[in-house]
Amino acid sequence: MMAPSKTLCRSKGKPDHPAAGIEHLRRFALTRGADDAVIISTEDVIVDPRVRFKCMIPKCYMSGNCAHCPPHGYSVQEVREIVSHYEWAIFFRKKVDSAIIAAKNIHKAIDSGIMDDKGNAINLGGHYILVFTIVKLLQKKAAEAGFGRTHGFAAGNCRDPFCHLQPTCQNLMTDKGCRHPELSSFSMESCGMDVYRMAARAGWDQFPIGGTCEPDSIPRGSLMGLVLVNP
């Protein structure tokens, strides 16, 4: 097993260490709420056609209902093309207590829009918003530091945390565009990135969380984000 480290993998043709500025970005992610963050070579970004199908088989309630979720969004070929234009990525995670992420009937609360008395759905939404925010802050910080174009990916769908009270995804249903372009982004998984395996390779314990999980089924959950960057 690959040992957890701040910088994971080297590949031929690349310098042994990413530019110091990228390490500053990694640390910045930690100061903004990430529990762990690593720098990985983009060759370690796993893009797998099976991942997008996990959004569609069985069909997630958001699949087809958000412009950033499959079957919309980038195809895996497009994602591979995007990733190939970058050398490094900041990969981070935010831990989520199992009592929140695997709370009984939390999916029903989210789906129905009727919040649970314990506030788990709101709490989970806050974790998702934090991941989206860290992604955008990293991209902004990279731009301020003089890095070129970056590409950010968060976790889950953006409609639940940002447009939960709206009847539809405006970006999908109208030509007005996204209501929250400054915060929303594609998720890693909607783009076919095998987040679970990448987390395992980063040395982070990751457990499959399904609809029948309960808080005592898993130690914790994690939400991950990724920002592609060039020195």
Binding site: M1, M2, D48, P49, R50, V51, R52, F53, K54, M56, I57, P58, K59, C60, Y61, S63, G64, N65, P70, P71, H72, G73, Y74, S75, V76, D111, P167, T168, L172, M173, D194, Y196, R197, A199, A200, R201, D205, Q206, F207, P208, I209, G210, G211, T212, C213, E214, S217, I218
Partner: protein, 212 residues
Amino acid sequence: MTFNIEKPKAVSRIAVQDDPGILADNLKQLCEKAERGGAMDTIVIDADQVVFSSSIRERVNADDGYPSVHWPLLYPKDDIVEAICAYQYGVFFRISPPPGMPACGGGPIDDIRYRNSYVRLYNLVTMIESACFYNGYHLSMGLASGNCRSVLCSDEKRCWPMLKGKACIHPNKGRPSMEAAGIDALAMAGHAGWHLNENNREALLAGLVMVT
């Protein structure tokens, strides 16, 4: 119609890579689980033993009089053949149909005995898929037979997730069929050496769970 959704007994950590020994044990246990769940034949297959047929896919695509989100299976940006070929192993199994049960295609299934047989198959497919998932094979994917709308939503006026903003009312059970994915289950059953009825006119109630 009720389904038993069980809490997982144990949830395995996602591994950096699959351990071949553990995987072999898990595949064996999945076959045993399928047999305990009512499968009459079960076999572990390599992904390259999945037989694809464009004519089967075209037949399903043309049989669109009772459409569902999983029948026909239309994903313009994604290639399900590429996805299935990305797996290493799958568990292929079948259950016994009632005597004389014909292949039902994608339309409504009026005979309750036939429909209940499909329900048993969907239960088994999702039970095996769920076991894979919680064993740490997080990309496991189950495929059944027929049209999930005919089997699970016969009392509904429509397949709800086909409407924007509506979710599947049986997300834990609804799965696409092998034929909708363009898989020739009959050919695979033949290759597996399973006894098939004369002229293959009886329904083949087969399921395939791609594991890892």
